[in-house]
Subunit: 354 residues, 2 copies
Amino acid sequence: MKLKLFTAGLLLAMSANAQILYHDASAFPLLGKATDATLTRYERLPDSLEHISRKPLWDLGRNSAGLAVRFRSNSTRIAAKWEVRNSMNMNHMTPTGIKGLDLYCLQDGKWVFAGSGRPQGKVNEATMVRNMAPEEREYLLFLSLYDGVTSLSIGVDSLSVIEQPAVDLPVREKPVVFYGTSILQGGCATRPGMAHTNILERWLNRECINLGFSGNALLDLEIAEVIASVDASMFVLDFVPNATVEQMKERAEKFYSIVRAKHPDTPILFVEDPVFPNSRFDRKLAQEVASKNETIAAIFRSLKKRGEKNIYFLSSKDILGHDGEATVDGIHLTDLGFVRYAEILYPLIKKRIR
Amino acid sequence: MKLKLFTAGLLLAMSANAQILYHDASAFPLLGKATDATLTRYERLPDSLEHISRKPLWDLGRNSAGLAVRFRSNSTRIAAKWEVRNSMNMNHMTPTGIKGLDLYCLQDGKWVFAGSGRPQGKVNEATMVRNMAPEEREYLLFLSLYDGVTSLSIGVDSLSVIEQPAVDLPVREKPVVFYGTSILQGGCATRPGMAHTNILERWLNRECINLGFSGNALLDLEIAEVIASVDASMFVLDFVPNATVEQMKERAEKFYSIVRAKHPDTPILFVEDPVFPNSRFDRKLAQEVASKNETIAAIFRSLKKRGEKNIYFLSSKDILGHDGEATVDGIHLTDLGFVRYAEILYPLIKKRIR
């Protein structure tokens, strides 16, 4: 018995570095927020909208899509403990995308996938990467796309350090702001880092702000105010899959004008409805997409005609590629779809941001 | 009240075509089986192995990975009712991939995604595509990857027909047989059609047989007998992510010889362990991959040296691309990874099959 205890003590001493110590992530910079005036840290809409925005929109604002924590560590492994608000499930998206985490590491100025945090439910713990050489590294940890992280701690070896980032990447001045639908919110990436706004944040090395609201990009004007509150390098307005023809006719110009009023020279990109694979056979959906795209094109032409500058229009024709394979359900993008979409958006944004 | 009943009757008469009639899929050809001597229709291993194979391997043989039903219909929509054996969930794969369905339609000789069947649980019903022009079309319906379909009915408009295929595509003579791991079984495609063996079945327009067994591609010799029982155009042996160095040294040549004995001239492709994104930082995993790949390369060289013909070796270096983004967890492929893997395999198989 004594020998057993002794052995146990020895093993403990030898593996002192094998202990994980958890550090509250609130000590580290958080990217992806339009405003800091939120009820809790890991949500997206200002607290002032709690009783103003429609309930489904407000609730979606509490999803942590596009948020990411930046830190530095020399630990041989990176773990996390996190809790989520709803722990919901969807049959066309992985729990890892819905309520998991996703860790990237900076290598030669580029963000490289290091490991994902696979969730168990409402309360979660996962080691995202292990067995690394004990070197100082810069990390970017993307949060859950379709649930709200309510608490987050980052675990590192007890004998290692976790510190503030030493490198100012992604650049935080003049972020790119995206407004949109379930697709924009990251439906249905397999892990948080594969939402296209997160891919673009890495490729551009510029902070991106995700204002995607599943099923609820209905041109609510208070969201235009939130968008306008950001000193952005570019605005991407990607609401067509949700907004009806009537809503667009009624509110798209007003929505645009609220943003433009505060940012007279900032590029604003309008995006058409993608050519959804489902619309290849579904004539009703094809008709709906065509009629929405005619509407947004007409609105864009009218803005041009009245002399609006720095506005751009992305035709949907190449967004998803041409093989019909970029979605899980004919509508929502997979990682394949998001990479294709990011490849289309990247040059359009890259050349227009300062 | 009378008027209401009358109106209801009129609407019913007008929408006679809106009724769905379900037809048992057992009337239609089933692709992807190495043998018809199975306990039930939608499983992969011969009943003779029930008490011979290791239990986990046998159970995985009852998953319907790679199976697909062929039919023809002029219905304006295609629906399905299906039941699955286990209704399990995994946190890194969508329920649609695990236990859903995936419908493709033949257009100008090519298989095009038409819609996925999103599951509710053990008993499922879904309309995969709707609002189509009422034209005769050829369909290929891929079954659940990580569960076993136990019953399946296909729903079409009551006034339409569902018939035997009129076109012999994919070609069923001389299928391609794949043996492998969780990845080969389709982990973690978002929908069944995105497992790479199913992608290749469409691209090659040749039946592909998926003998992927999650965590259990351990070179069990009775599986070599199953593989050898198929009059194949090519065999792809992709077991390295599961088999240990010891298992490979002990059994890989024997496994190969069982297949070769019955097929003296058929091409056999050995595949290395992919360069998993996780191995970029995880030194232990990197070491393991390197040591397994040295082992399989040595085995291949030894086969070559003893004069074996028609054997090929696929280096892993390009399988997943080079951006680290092709997986959900550093190991298992997403749709992005499966398309990349299929793009690497396609020319290698295409030029060697008759």
